[in-house]
Symmetry: C2
Subunit: 363 residues, 2 copies
DNA sequence: GAACCGAATCAAAGCGCTTAGATATTTCCT
DNA sequence: AGGAAATATCTAAGCGCTTTGATTCGGTTC
């Protein structure tokens, strides 16, 4: 287990210079076939594995991309998680350690998967870092020092810290395009999605008393709310139920809905800012004995897996999450070749997914 | 976007030597407080981010661990995937690109998650690499050059390639402990699990005609089969249905079960080698109009999320997957400190999870 | 056979950081 | 105040690789 063999050892064994060894691995066509085999044989016998540190230092590029994957489930302010309303199970209690909370892949998981797949497809190494809410910045900086480009989730890290990193290497962020100029962004067409789902409720199901609800004010959610309002106005529906936005976590979504149930002032539909919000809403409604979609329709936004399996299944707007991840990788690699191009905001299309919770029939 | 600032720039700006800059970041207590602040200020103004390549080269350690995550779903021989028998959905067709196959986290996903969480908790950087079945070895070698230790899934990579890597850096493998001496292993107590589930069928449900079935002969599966046999023998149950093991994929599990259905020679229970096998079995049975568990019981092994949600829910033996991932990281870090200790085989406990598919009632 | 040429190989200069060991500075005694 | 001991900082030598420009080599051409 002594310190492993280096180019020097291989070179000596093959009777060539270290330059030739390097060429053999990086630009094989520059080396005469016979020499190449000699070197490869020596490398093989020695069990030579090139040091990425040395290469990275010499080339000025590490050849790896980074993903800063913030775990929302570990976030104390993250709310009740995704499991509300899902089928319970005899072995659930005490199984937390083993991933009960993660029965389904979450939004971030699916995007992360896209990043992984695209990196692998392109032979790029991928460093995934996580917070560790304690020392997010230290972790981020550590990752930044290891990679050529970085993909991050919104609000996983302070803006200034991110800006600082972005001065050194390309950074691409999901959503939040309005803030953080100076880096690329991948977003989805929130407006179209929210409009489509609102119009469907109005025209498809003849509902007019719609209420928008969501836990967090984010760029995405704001755009959705805006489009929701627009769709109501366009349809000539007057806003009986004011959009509710228990922003900042003052009032949780659950509490808000619970109150509404008690007051008996239910709208005809809850248009939720996200699927996770919708799951919470449906959970509360079930507990209060309110039938979905009979008494009230519920819609989400995102298209996470859990919404597909829950009963009633969740009508939603699906974001192309895997593709978003892949796109981030593409943007990063592009940016490495063209550092001076102006920052890009790539807006990906969404798709209305009609399921049971709005009143549609499953096929 | 010029090449970023280095220790030299920071040193110059702070009016100290580069050594002091380095100390400020690595061993702050060795630097006088006033100097430290000077350096940190300079670093901050310059947007200094230490280069991990340079550090790795100088220290002989990269400070990162690697995970070689083979994607079984991309494996052409991987069989029908996990979705057999799961609820279908209006938006399923054509949605493949967006992760339909991964509606639930698979075994590898949960283990990977454990690796990630433990790395993050310990402030370790984590490199996840994937095959790319084409050039697995190249990818593996690339990763190996970047990390201090490597975690791999069984049979994701040729044994010799792995052995070669293991000569250079610590490697820990899931399962397969019988092969590949010379590296650490994390396994589970397959024997206890298989025995427990078999005994439950015999004593709990009074079944005597049990049939073992699984797609792949692996160390894990062999141990399970062995314990299955042992449990039958111990219970004095004679083996009416010979353990069926369509090894090597000659006959797929699906075909085997289909044939059995047609012949009308059903056992009282299918004891499957893995949950994925069990899902396939249940899918075929459903298609053949055979009621589970009324006409035949089915059990799995692993405890993947899908088995919890499918109806009837799947009785199985749960592996502590997240913990296995965490354990791999622990072993790796241990091994770095104690290279000469003999290789370890860590056998983690499993837990019998009774659900509907064996005939038990959900609570 | 001298002059020349392309191809193959090599020598050497870093890349940005860590860390012994040397040196400068401060602290604390007597 | 003088000097030893403790502390703070610096000098300089790598770490293993890439890559430019120089050198060597085996042939061609005239």
């Amino acid at each position: 287990m002594a310190k492993g063999p280096t180019v020097y050892h291989v070179a000596e064994r093959a009777g060539v210079s270290i330059a030739t060894v390097s060429f053999t691995f990086r630009q094989p066509e520059k080396v005469k076939a016979s020499t190449r085999e000699l070197v490869l044989a020596a490398a093989d016998e020695l069990g030579y594995v090139p040091s990425a540190s040395a290469r990275g230092l010499a080339r000025g590029r590490t050849g790896a991309l980074g993903l800063f994957a913030y775990d929302y489930l570990l976030d104390p302010s993250g709310g009740p998680g995704v499991q509300g309303g899902l089928p319970h199970d005899v072995d659930a209690p005490g199984d937390r350690e083993e991933g009960n909370l993660r029965l389904f892949p979450l939004y971030v998981d699916e995007v992360q998967r896209g990043v992984e797949l695209e990196c692998w497809r392109r032979g790029q190494a991928l460093l995934v870092g996580g917070g560790n809410p304690a020392n997010n910045e230290a972790v981020l900086s550590d990752i930044a020092g290891r990679v050529d480009g970085l993909a991050v989730f919104p609000r996983s890290v302070p803006v200034e810290a991110l800006a600082r990193i972005a001065r050194r290497i390309p950074v691409v962020e999901v959503s939040e395009s309005l803030r953080n100029r100076g880096m690329d962004h991948v977003t989805v067409d929130n407006a179209s999605g929210a409009r489509a789902i609102t119009e469907h409720l109005i025209k498809g199901h003849g509902l007019t008393e719609l209420m928008f609800i969501g836990a967090m004010p984010s760029t995405d959610n704001d755009e959705r709310l805006e489009a929701f309002r627009g769709a109501l106005a366009a349809a000539g529906v007057k806003l009986r139920h004011e959009p509710r936005y228990p922003a900042g976590g003052e009032l949780t979504v659950a509490e808000t809905v619970r109150t509404i149930c008690h007051q008996g002032s239910l709208p005809q539909a809850f248009v939720c800012a996200t699927d996770q919000d919708a799951l919470v809403v449906m959970d509360v409604l079930a507990a209060a004995g309110v039938a979905v979609p009979k008494q009230v329709a519920v819609t989400g936004f995102d298209g996470i897996a859990a919404g597909r399996v829950i009963r009633p299944s969740l009508t939603t707007v699906r974001q192309p999450m895997e593709r978003m991840g892949r796109t981030m990788v593409e943007l990063l690699l592009d940016r490495l070749d063209h550092p001076e191009k102006p920052p890009v905001d790539l807006k990906l299309p969404v798709r209305l997914v009609l399921r049971e919770s709005c009143g549609c029939q499953p096929s």
